[in-house]
């Protein structure tokens, strides 16, 4: 059944939208909204990262660097220079995209784990710059960021807004923004996957040499998808900065890069809805571990290990293949479609 729903990208996105609409029924207080907003922003980031990991077969160990760079670009442009939010987000995305292109293009000519090393280095260099350029970034103690502002309309978590005559609170309005962004991010990613670029990328995963032989310009497509995933991170970083109202260089840390890649792998590389599930699980798992107190860290490591050992394909793809297959399609075929 699950497979059937996931089959078309339209139905998948609609299901995601429905979940997002009914989710607030389970929220008891504004803090729950805040949690959901953060999960949404991070989930949209990993949907972008998944394009790189799941379809170009490349690992980025520095994606938090792009996220952090986007966050600081928005923070500095709107806070220090008084830009409006949207131009800041766009300019930040372009800047990050250019950085990714400069780094990615020469590295992606090579085969192997080289992009992971290059992105690791780039992520660290970005974090070091954010920490040391105190005049611009406020240094390791961070800087505050003004609320999101669209056409003179400010979105603060403490504000009150009316929408179609309905009075809603600041966190509810933010939840809508985050939800809409996640749906758009997902829709866009699914379209890339189904486009000729996506098909070319999937052929890369099979065998890069074979793809090259049949005339697919592997370097170009890989670079392109790397840039797209960096742009995702940059935009979401900017949104996150506005939402939090305060940012520190931690956002660009190696730790956070690892968190992002872990979300992709645990949710299911190559499965757009899987990585969203991965983001939800990794962000919320510690709540379930609260009782373990001191052992929390060890428990988290253990769960991560065990999950990957027994579900090497990730949570959603494994669930998919376990749920009874009503459509009688061959399992492999279904997985191929549903992970799209």
């Amino acid at each position: 059944m699950l497979n059937q729903i996931m089959q078309s990208r339209l139905r998948g996105v609609m299901l995601l939208g429905l979940i997002l609409i009914f989710l607030p029924a389970f929220f008891a207080n504004p803090f729950h909204y805040e949690l959901a907003i953060q999960v949404g922003i991070v989930a949209a980031t990993v949907v972008g990262l998944n394009l790189l990991v799941g379809f170009a077969g490349q690992i980025s160990l520095g994606h938090a660097g792009f996220f952090g760079l986007g966050a600081y670009f928005s923070g500095i442009a709107t806070g220090t220079y008084g830009w409006s939010s949207i131009p800041a987000l766009v300019a930040g995305a372009i800047a990050v995209g250019v950085v990714a292109w400069i780094v990615g293009r020469p590295i992606l000519r090579l085969k192997g784990h080289y992009l992971s090393m290059a992105t690791l280095a780039v992520g660290f260099i970005i974090a070091i710059i954010l920490e040391n350029e105190r005049a611009l970034t406020g240094g390791p103690d961070g800087m505050s960021v003004p609320p999101l502002e669209v056409f003179g309309w400010q979105l603060s978590t403490f504000g009150r807004y009316s929408l179609f005559g309905l009075e809603i609170s600041g966190v509810q309005a933010w939840y809508m923004v985050a939800g809409v962004l996640l749906v758009i991010a997902t829709w866009f990613a699914l379209n890339i996957i189904e486009s000729p670029i996506g098909r070319a990328l999937r052929s890369l995963k099979g065998s890069e040499v074979a793809a090259g032989v049949v005339g697919v310009n592997t370097t170009k497509y890989k670079s392109l998808v790397f840039v797209v995933s960096a742009v995702y991170a940059s935009i979401m970083g900017g949104i996150y900065a506005h939402f939090q109202g305060f940012i520190t260089p931690d956002l660009a840390s190696f730790d956070f890069s690892i968190v992002l890649i872990t979300m992709v792998v645990i949710g299911g590389m190559g499965s757009t809805f899987g990585v969203i599930l991965g983001a939800v699980v990794i962000e919320l798992l510690p709540q379930a571990l609260a009782d373990f107190q001191e052992l929390e860290m060890a428990m988290f490591g253990l769960i991560l290990m065990v999950t990957m050992i027994f579900m090497p394909k990730g949570l959603l793809p494994t669930l998919n293949s376990v749920v009874p297959n009503i459509t009688r399609k061959k399992a492999a075929e279904v997985r191929h479609d549903s992970t799209g």
Binding site: N29, R134, G139, P140, A290
Partner: protein, 381 residues
């Protein structure tokens, strides 16, 4: 990584516990501290102090006839989780006052939110920028790094030193300390001839110290930083055979620093609260009794050594209690006003005299200069 993901960990458990406690209408003290992570040496004694004294105050009849209830979260030293927990304290737990923020980073991350929510907040972090310029709802208990810098430079000048080398950590504490030292030095007529830094997880600072050693005219060296870094600096300093007077900041004013640095620490000086040398205070020093009591009570309760950083929480809690008593209610604005007008509160850290222009209330003299002699802290003045 787990630190970051672990941000909501304690939240659920505490939330459940609170449901059952609604009936007696306690006064809610909220707190977010860095009980784990790289700043746990700050957050751990802070949390222990808060827990112990909330219990003690309740045993003695509470405040305004109501019990205190401590709602606390561990931010693991991460600014974004500190901000989230501040939000949870305000929005979900609806606390009356917040005593928290172990580091400047976690404090500053919560400030914009707290200013909007209009809840009194007493920070336990050091940087001068927390209360300068004054923020309406934000107070703090430790002396600022600016005061530490001034106190150190004054001691140097008393010894006839006017040209120094500065080595500082690149973390929040070190880099703010560095900026304040440079400013204070300029005002006080001290020249900083060498100015080098090291990263928080660096394992060897010999190169940076060599740089200072080879700078002509340096008469003393100051290290601004916290964590294990300053202990490595101290060791490298001794290994290099540098014999210039050596100063550390209040960031390492603890016995565990002496354990790490060992004999290399001999002769170094730093500014600290009198907590490390309670018995050397002269009779008649107003702080003597408070300091001795806190030390005795803490060490009896926890069977571990008292730390300067726990004292920041002690003073924060007592200031909060005093303000609530004076305000006669938990009305945020009344409590804030009362806090702002506290005068003559003698705490472990020093004597607090708050005012609308000074949300810290301490002066430079609350720092005592200590020197390591025979492996022990010794009061110089």
């Amino acid at each position: 990584m787990v630190r970051r993901i672990g941000k909501y960990a304690a939240a659920v458990a505490t939330g459940l516990m609170m449901l059952s406690a609604q009936a007696s209408e306690p006064i809610k003290i909220g707190s977010f501290v860095s009980a784990t992570g790289p700043a746990s040496f700050l957050g751990d004694p802070e949390l222990k102090t808060l827990e112990m004294y909330v219990e003690k105050i309740n045993d003695e009849g509470g405040v305004l006839g109501r019990d205190l209830e401590l709602v606390h979260y561990d931010d693991g030293g991460s600014a974004s989780s500190a901000r989230n927990f501040a939000s949870r304290l305000i929005r979900s737990d609806q606390v009356d006052i917040i005593v928290g923020g172990s580091t400047t980073g976690t404090t500053m991350a919560a400030v914009p939110l707290i200013q909007q929510a209009r809840i009194p907040f007493i920070s336990m972090a050091g940087a001068v920028k927390i209360t300068t310029p004054v923020k309406k709802w934000v107070f703090k208990t430790p002396q600022s790094d600016r005061m530490a810098a001034e106190r150190i430079l004054r001691d140097m000048k008393d010894r006839g030193i006017t040209k120094i080398g500065l080595i500082s950590g690149t973390g929040g504490f070190g880099s703010s300390g560095r900026a304040q030292t440079l400013e204070a030095a300029e005002q006080m007529g001290v020249e900083v001839l060498a100015d080098v830094t090291y990263g928080g997880s660096d394992t060897d600072m010999t190169a940076q110290l060599t740089d200072i050693r080879n700078t002509e005219g340096v008469e003393a060296v100051l290290n601004f930083g916290f964590g294990q870094g300053p202990a490595i600096v101290t060791r490298n300093y001794a290994d290099l055979g540098m014999e210039l007077p050596f100063y550390q900041s209040h960031g390492v004013a603890s016995d565990s620093f002496l354990d790490l640095a060992g004999s290399s620490a001999e002769g170094l000086r730093l500014p600290a609260s009198p907590l490390l040398v309670p018995d050397s205070l002269p009779e008649g020093d107003p702080q003597k009794e408070v300091v001795q009591d806190y030390k005795a009570e803490y060490e009896a309760h926890y069977d571990s050594k008292v730390s300067t950083f726990g004292a920041y929480a002690y003073d924060g809690l007592n200031l909060a209690v005093r303000a609530i008593e004076k305000a006669g209610s938990t009305d945020p604005e009344a409590v804030r006003k009362a806090l702002e007008n506290i005068e003559g509160y003698v705490g472990v850290t020093g004597e607090f005299n708050m005012s609308p222009d000074d949300h810290n209330g301490l002066n430079v003299d609350s720092f005592r200069i200590l020197e390591v002699q025979n492996g022990k802290w010794t009061l110089i003045n």
